[in-house]
């Protein structure tokens, strides 16, 4: 069997989170009553005309800049003609030969280093409506709320060489786009969608093989799975001397396989031509510079800076930058001169857990950077044990009270007083005579059990280090 090389290119559709739709004033919202967010324009009623929402164009340029694209100074819209009930005008307003941007790139992680994936083009278009197949009524219904949602299509070059690289490209892209705050990038809501093109060729061959286009993947995991399935299907076909048919295939998540939808012969002739209802737009340098200034520090830059500025471990930095707000919170904490490693551990540990369980964002939690630093300081000073500190955090997030108030009200200060602890140890030794015997006979590891009992009795308030010290001293002095 010859050695094959896989070639993948991805088309990502991104819904832009502008307040209103791309060509009319309707609200751009998800999950409303069907057909309530519509007007003559997005319904394509006869006589209505589109007007470009400049915000959508700005968002698209911002995203394109973050993807290192060249921005076209002169852009126009085109009509892509095809019939489908979710497309009320019988054409989609899209961009054909003068898109918003072209020739960009992103760096994806690749075996401890980075690989550059080129982006061919990025253009703006309008989203279509949604067909709902009602099996009970045995008919199809159309919801036009989504019609006219601004969509940005980002087309990669066929630079990806494995399903894993495709997956990494998507996660990298998504993180960059999330940083820009131009989309909520939620695949479940359909605000980020991905179609994939895949072909294989014998290693060393520079020509591209016959490709298939894959649709209907509803998660990054599904994109990867569909590509893996298709990669093997192509390899089997070629190895057995058969040909690949150029076609569009649908991923079936339940059956975990791709199924042919239409062949190239059935492909649409979209009859693109310039949209006469919209005038071409020029993007002047001043506007471009202003958008450039609005592009924040991007994940990879932030990662590099965190390593350098805060001396974080790569692993820690990598986790922090996955969440732009968390990273920002981290930097605010770091300004309070606590040990950054400890702040990081708290953020990617307990705080992250709380965020997950609460489904919340850090900036909506009832804790300020200074307060987290105080909490960490209280552990350093021996006022709180790590365990109790975690409880304090929970209470803090639930009630919003100050840390000192929580400690006071619940009497959570760590017990460090030697006298009190000695009495406690006395009690425990008396209650666990068997264990005491074992230790005396040399099973020193059983001392840990006694420490645990002390912690239990004090609901974690005892200073474990001190307890251990006192217990050890007892046996060794005896």
């Amino acid at each position: 069997m010859p050695e094959f090389e896989t070639v993948i290119g991805l088309e990502v559709h991104l819904q832009l989170s502008t307040e209103t739709k791309i060509f009319c004033g309707c609200a751009n919202l998800f999950g409303r009553e069907p057909n309530t967010l519509t007007c003559p324009v997005c319904l394509g009623l006869p006589g209505s005309l589109p007007v470009l929402n400049k915000k959508a164009l700005m968002y698209a340029i911002k995203a394109a800049l973050a993807l290192n694209c060249q921005i076209n100074s002169y852009i126009k819209f085109d009509r892509k003609n095809y019939y489908y009930p979710d497309l009320p005008k019988g054409y989609q307003i899209s961009q054909h030969d003068l898109p918003v941007a072209h020739d960009g790139w992103v760096m994806i992680p690749a075996s401890g280093s980075f690989k550059k994936i080129n982006i061919k083009r990025a253009h703006l278009e309008e989203d279509a409506g949604k067909l709902i197949h009602d099996t009970f009524l045995n008919c199809s219904l159309v919801d036009y709320n989504r019609t006219g949602t601004p969509l940005m299509e980002i087309v990669s070059e066929p630079d990806l060489r494995s399903p894993q690289e495709a997956y990494d490209y998507l996660t990298t892209l998504k993180l960059i786009l999330q940083y820009l705050d131009v989309s909520d990038c939620d695949m479940e809501k359909g605000s980020l969608r991905c179609d994939a093109n895949i072909s294989i060729r014998e290693k060393g061959d520079l020509r591209l093989g016959t490709k298939t286009e894959l649709k209907n993947m509803n998660s990054f995991r599904a994109v990867k799975a569909a590509l893996e399935f298709e990669e093997i299907r192509h390899q089997k076909l070629l190895s057995s001397g058969q040909k690949i048919i150029q076609e569009t295939r649908l991923w079936n998540d339940e059956k975990a396989m791709t199924i042919s939808m239409r062949s190239k012969e059935d492909a649409h002739d979209y009859r693109y031509f310039p949209e006469p209802d919209l005038v071409p737009f020029t993007i002047d340098e001043a506007a471009l510079q202003e958008i450039k200034r609005s592009v924040p520090e991007l994940p990879r830059e932030k990662f590099e800076r965190f390593l350098k500025e805060y001396k974080l471990a790569e692993y820690d930095a990598q986790i922090l930058i996955q969440n732009q707000e968390l990273a920002g919170f981290f930097e605010q904490c770091a300004a309070f001169s606590v040990e950054t490693k400890k702040v990081c551990n708290w953020l990617i540990g307990p705080i992250q857990q709380e965020l997950n369980s609460r489904g919340a964002k850090i900036n909506s939690l009832q804790i300020q950077p200074q307060e987290l630093c105080d909490l960490i300081k209280k552990i350093e000073d021996g006022v709180l044990s790590n365990l109790v500190a975690k409880d304090v955090l929970k209470i803090k997030l639930d009630t919003g009270k100050t840390i000192d108030a929580i400690i006071r009200e619940r009497g959570l200060t760590q017990i460090c007083d030697d006298g009190t602890l000695e009495n406690l140890i006395e009690e425990i030794l008396n209650e666990n005579t068997q264990v005491v015997e074992q230790i005396k006979q040399g099973k020193e590891s059983a001392m840990g059990f006694l420490v645990g009992q002390a912690m239990k009795k004090t609901q974690g308030k005892a200073n474990p280090k001190k307890i251990k010290e006192l217990i050890t001293r007892r046996f060794h002095n005896a």
Binding site: P40, L43, G44, L45, P46, G47, S48, L49, P50, V51, L52, R79, N81, Y83, Y84, P85, P88, K89, G90, Y91, N138, C139, S140, V142, D269, R271, Y272, F273, P276, D277, L278, V279
Partner: protein
Amino acid sequence: MNLNQLTAHELIDHLKSKKTTPSDIYTAVVKEIERLDPKVKAYLRLTKNKPAFDSNSRLDFPVPISIKDNICIKGEEITCASHILEGFHPSYNAAVIEKIQKCGGILVGQTNMDEFAFGSSTENSHFGPTRNPWNLECVPGGSSGGSAAAVAAHEAIWALGSDTGGSIRQPASFCGIVGLKPTYGRVSRYGLIAFASSLDQIGPLTKDVTDNSLLLNIIAGHDERDSTSADVSVPDYTKSLINDVKGLKIGIPKEYFIEGMDPQVKNAVGEAIEVLEKKGAIFKEVSLPHTEYAVATYYILATAEASSNLARFDGVRYGIRCQPKNSRKGSIVDLYEETRSVGFGKEAKRRIMLGTYALSSGYYEAYYVRAQKVRTLIKNDFDSVFKEFDAIVTPTSPTTAFRIGEKAEDPLAMYLSDIYTISANLAGIPAISLPCGFSKNGLPIGLQILAKPFAEEMLFRIAYSYEQSTPWHTKRVSINA
């Protein structure tokens, strides 16, 4: 004279001197429609929402107006004279309707047209042809034939039409009235059901030049809802009604005086030029070298855009819906095919096919792209003439109104009747048609004047000067009911 036979500006004078009331005028118009329209068939329907006459209202123009059936009026059925749209009631008003209502205009009814404005005779209406008031055996021209015939027959005081390749000017010419196609972008297209978006413009059809300038005053202006509408200030066009053409330089394009032109048309236009010359205008022959490509260019671009604009009529959301017998259950393609087969008339289908072909992969470069290039050349032709000249005069149409059915089976002959009007749409420039005589058979002849973009004032000035020296606009048609 009956009220309905007056012009809008005469009626305004009557209203000001309290000689009449808006209600009387409206009643006179409706009565005339009831009397004559069974013969002329200018209207598809009268508006359902009847006007309420408030004696206290002090509006500028409480004058009845008739509207071509491709301009949306909230709550009134609109069909574009097509079967496919039957039963559709727009939920909103076109920009021009808003403007008309704002100054008190009273919407009388909606006028017949060629289906989706595809035609030059109003024979392509699903609801039957309109007749020319000057000779009921003849066509009124098209596609705004209903509006032109209504005004000429005094079934309307004035009317709105739309002009994509001559659809206001050619019927104005055939019916002996004044019709203006404004500069592209001068009037908002919001609410005009599109034929060819880059060529369509709404414009006035009136009994004289003064009325035309008044109605343009009302409907012109920038509209944020139409991205192609121009943000250019609107002058008071009545100020350009100046009876003076002394020193104006007017071009006569040699390419327009060609074979196939009716000699009576040629004579009438020649006499019109003499009239203006006597008044001091300076005429000179000019050249618009790409004229011979205008019709071909137009029929590629206009049909390409139309094929896409008409895609939305698919039976899913409004208008008629047809499912063939024995259709595969629930097949959406069957529904599209049957609805469009039943819903569209012959000419609409022809243009959808032409346009689809011109845009198809493999043909796009050779047809659409090439036609766009020629369009630029045609525009350049005009630009260079207007560097030196204030206006251009031509006939509006090579012939007078032809007989119903005469060209119905010969689309190419029909397309050629727009030969003098098409270029203005391709170039985006304003053009006016006004009566300049009659044929031996008593059919009106039209004179076309063209000017550079946003120079409607120049058109009105020349047209008004001509009108002041000639009797044509005072000729009234008389039809026995």
